[in-house]
Symmetry: C2
Subunit: 211 residues, 2 copies
Amino acid sequence: MNAGSDQDRRIRILLAEDQAMIREALATLLDLEPDMRVVGQVGRGDQVADAVTALGGVDVALLDIEMPGLDGLSAAAELRRRHPETKVVVLTTFGRPGFLRRAMEAGAAAFMVKDAPAARLAEAIRRVLAGERVIDPDLAAAALADGVNPLTGRERDVLAASADGSVNAEIADKLCLSEGTVRNYLSACIQKTGARNRAEAVRIAQEKGWL
Amino acid sequence: MNAGSDQDRRIRILLAEDQAMIREALATLLDLEPDMRVVGQVGRGDQVADAVTALGGVDVALLDIEMPGLDGLSAAAELRRRHPETKVVVLTTFGRPGFLRRAMEAGAAAFMVKDAPAARLAEAIRRVLAGERVIDPDLAAAALADGVNPLTGRERDVLAASADGSVNAEIADKLCLSEGTVRNYLSACIQKTGARNRAEAVRIAQEKGWL
DNA sequence: AACCTCGTATGACAACCGTCATGCCCACAG
DNA sequence: CTGTGGGCATGACGGTTGTCATACGAGGTT
């Protein structure tokens, strides 16, 4: 198993992805590259930074966004604090402009979507190690075109709390607000997203990665 | 590429999955098994049956549920009609009881969730070829416990049409119904799901795989 | 100091939504 | 041939939601 022994010069990779089958398949794929080696795998975002510490550092952390415990973007931010030398590649199912923006803010060096060809993944890892940043041009354009998240912090809170179908009274309760205030915030969210009701506002905000 | 030549006895597999990176990674994984060979890959549900025809038949079709064009469950049903000898393995991100139920109705021989260990996939394929059915026991129990979909066909239509945040008038328009009828159906959906409004009804129905 | 944005709140009004009773037609099972 | 269940419709009622005007304090900018 430890073929390269103490002189192994391959790129050391930590893989974080919650779906075991996908995680193992990606690990197999990367291990087939002659210059790469997956030295650790985790299935939760909150295990990322600890795993890097336990491994004595890695060259690249490949992080899925959709993970239990801590999402990949927050995990990237934590990693940046605790292991600033580690390069972060964010991998996601959904190419949402807001996700790209947040990934960049969290210090990610690359942003990949899962429907890109597999060969691009290894390529991105090599380019990141060479100091480049790797971002899908279409996605970058979309992120710029969409502009910044127009929702204020509190508006996001209220909209997110409404996403599961809670009624005003419950949202007010959860966030310790008056019911009228909840209505005001939701009204603002609806106008800013251009929606016609809270449900559509939730959908639009999620599509753009604003929640 | 054609290592086994005309005497190849390996299991011939068609892989249908929309995310190219995942699809290629799974293909790599399965091709590493000495007795398996991925002979075709497609990224859309509506290409499944045609691909099997073009390949002159396959032993196993591995179908993701979440696909553009035609979802994996409908693709499985089409495959059953056009190539009844092909074994179908359904693979999905979401282990929803309703999905399992529909997969079985569509004639699937196995139902796998993507967070199972990768080794189980190859194992499932071999067992399916041996004539077994392979289903996660937890999921089977959940499917039985949940009972059948209580929504009538039209109730499903209306609830599905409301999922994107459309208002009653739009739903009525889309389905050529009166606005009052839309309200009646949605009211029924809300009661049958035990929800407090349409948004929650949509969430619950989706969780159970009723849409 | 004047101004802006954000968070919070209230009250009023109109529009929309959820419920219920009731009716009709059609198909299918008993 | 008489229930029973699904599909469709109307009307009425009360509750929820969306909008708007207005207000106040805290924090930051000009």
